[in-house]
Symmetry: C2
DNA sequence: CTGTTAGCGCATTCAC
DNA sequence: GTGAATGCGCTAACAG
């Protein structure tokens, strides 16, 4: 077999053999100089490394991976890079992976299960572990991949597979309580993707807590969840007569804010809105009351779990829950006097 | 050498040899069935693939890479995943890479040259090409890596290295013209990172066009560029007496908007703000007039250029410029009557 | 401490 | 059209 284009640019890359020949040692010794210097005399290590340096030798990761089966790569697949929920998570995951010396493949499924599977297929062969954030794949598929490689899920609850769940229930409950205390009696839940674990969880939390406090809640969809669909939801929401809304995520809430403004509904004076995820900070107008979801932590924890699993740690039943809480800003206020009576 | 932990989970992954044995052909034939089916009889291909399927065989990318020198991976390094400028670019780059069957490593330098170099070092050995977006590395370093692998730069202008530049000058000039027509005479440029090519380009465009139209421009820094620093810039800006500001990017502009609101300065009635990049859409309040930077296209084009370079295409002097234009929304308006005269 | 030997899984010359 | 042999660059037993 001929040498191919591997190093077509600055000539052929030096291999372990060249270094070995020049330094007058065996290839194994050169290998050890890089992987287990402690096994060699300091003198040898020094000499070999000097030669390697001069030659510009750098270990070929691919060859090493083939030999050891460890390539130091992990993959992270998200459902939508452009959703502000993910970047902080990606960043945190990267940071953690970096510290462990791992490289991370990023995949973007764009909410499409087929694409997600395609990516998975491409990654699986060259990674030591995977993390799937908000996976839209069906359970059976996920199990298949989880059987082949350490795999951890974010915001997807599958029995027996390590997962980290951002538990927005406490925050959502607090939000409902907050709204109730402000005198709201009828509220809307602006719902997200039906296949989303987060959406199901939030919807249930809203219903449960609302029931407990005797609030009426209606559901208005915003699908796919985005600024645009949130904006569109404004009209049906005000038409429904509710005085407050809690949205699937901050983006939807932000759109709702805009839609409300366009309808001349003053927030928070005549309508209250609360978001979810807390990814927009105070950048909305008015600053959004929202449920803080610690998405960055999720990325960090997921990679941590993946690492311990890769290193043979307990891969049993791990279901890591991340807490949430309500952040009250300026988009919520006392319920307005009833419209009908005016 | 013993088998290692590669497939510790569901037993050993089937190799080409197993498929060969079961289908009663040689390993070479199995290999061909996957890489050059045309070389084999249809019957053979069919049979081999059937067996492979049943066994769950899937070609080992790493082994293939070692043999061919092509592993189908590329790396994308950005300076800050969390900056809304990047996600659309990342998404577009991924999409293009996907179509070409490539996997992409994502690196996040967090604006730190040292981290950027670390990442580069980890990636270089296992990718066929790299794209560096808004690299903070010094030119010499970049040249070294570019000599080893096909490499394309985004928003960094280094002679001899393929680069795609988002040319915001036309948009910025249009913005200045727009402001001038609205009667503004004194404006501020809220500047970004000094090492950023984009910042230099924008600053120069502002100066040039302002000079041409006889506007006075002062510079106020917002570093690092963010919502927070933009917000902080509001005070010195109103103190300076200018009536309009053009910000390094949308995030800074958004912060400025908030800072202005906190200072009770009405936008656009008493002050005009224009952003840069157009990554926030209409989500700000008021909707931001901004220079559209087509960041998604940049990612797409960069990967395209990288591909052609990887395939031995002309790697000569390529300097791809992406155009920009002004998007007028609601954050700009006529210059207010002069404050002093009131 | 260091050298020798034997693969990792695959793609590719050559023969046939 | 297909098989046998060889090597990609490296690491890991096994000796010494």
């Amino acid at each position: 077999m001929k040498r191919d284009g591997r190093e077509q640019r600055s000539g052929i890359a030096p291999t372990i053999s060249q270094v070995a020949k020049v330094s007058g040692v065996s290839r194994a010794t050169v290998s050890r100089a890089f992987t287990r210097p402690g096994m060699l005399s300091e003198e040898t290590v020094r000499r070999v490394k000097a030669v390697a340096d001069k030659l510009g030798y750098v270990p070929n990761q691919v060859a090493r991976a083939l030999s050891t089966g460890r390539h130091g790569n992990v993959a992270l697949i998200v459902s939508d890079v452009a959703n502000p929920f993910f970047p902080p998570m990606i960043r945190a995951a990267q940071l953690h992976a970096d510290k462990a010396g791992l490289c991370v493949f990023l995949g973007n499924s764009d909410e499409d299960p087929a694409r997600e599977e395609l990516l998975l297929g491409r990654f699986i062969g060259q990674v030591e572990g995977l993390v799937l954030a908000s996976s839209r794949l069906d359970e059976a598929q996920i199990r298949i991949y989880a059987a082949r490689r350490p795999l951890v899920l974010i915001n997807r609850d599958i029995e027996g597979i390590t997962r980290v769940l951002i538990d927005t229930a406490p925050g959502v409950e607090a939000a409902i309580a907050h709204l109730a205390e402000l005198g709201h009696r009828h509220i809307a839940y602006v719902s997200g993707p039906t296949t989303s674990w987060s959406n199901q969880q939030r919807r249930n939390a809203v219903r449960k807590e609302a029931a407990k406090r005797g609030l009426k809640v209606i559901a208005i969809p915003a699908r796919p969840p985005s600024y645009g669909t949130g904006r569109l939801a404004a009209a049906p929401i005000v038409a429904s007569g509710v005085t407050a809304a809690i949205a699937f995520d901050d983006l939807v809430a932000q759109g709702l804010l805009a839609g409300l403004a366009a309808l001349d509904v003053d927030v928070p004076r005549s309508f209250s809105v609360v978001g979810c995820d807390d990814v927009l900070g105070e950048t909305t107008y008015p600053p959004l009351t929202t449920v803080s979801a610690r998405c960055a932590d999720a990325g960090d924890v997921a990679v941590g779990l993946l690492l311990s699993q890769m290193n043979g740690g307990a891969s049993g039943e791990i279901r890591h829950k991340l807490n949430s809480h309500l952040v009250v800003r300026a988009s919520t206020g006392p319920a307005p006097a009833r419209r009908k009576s005016r």
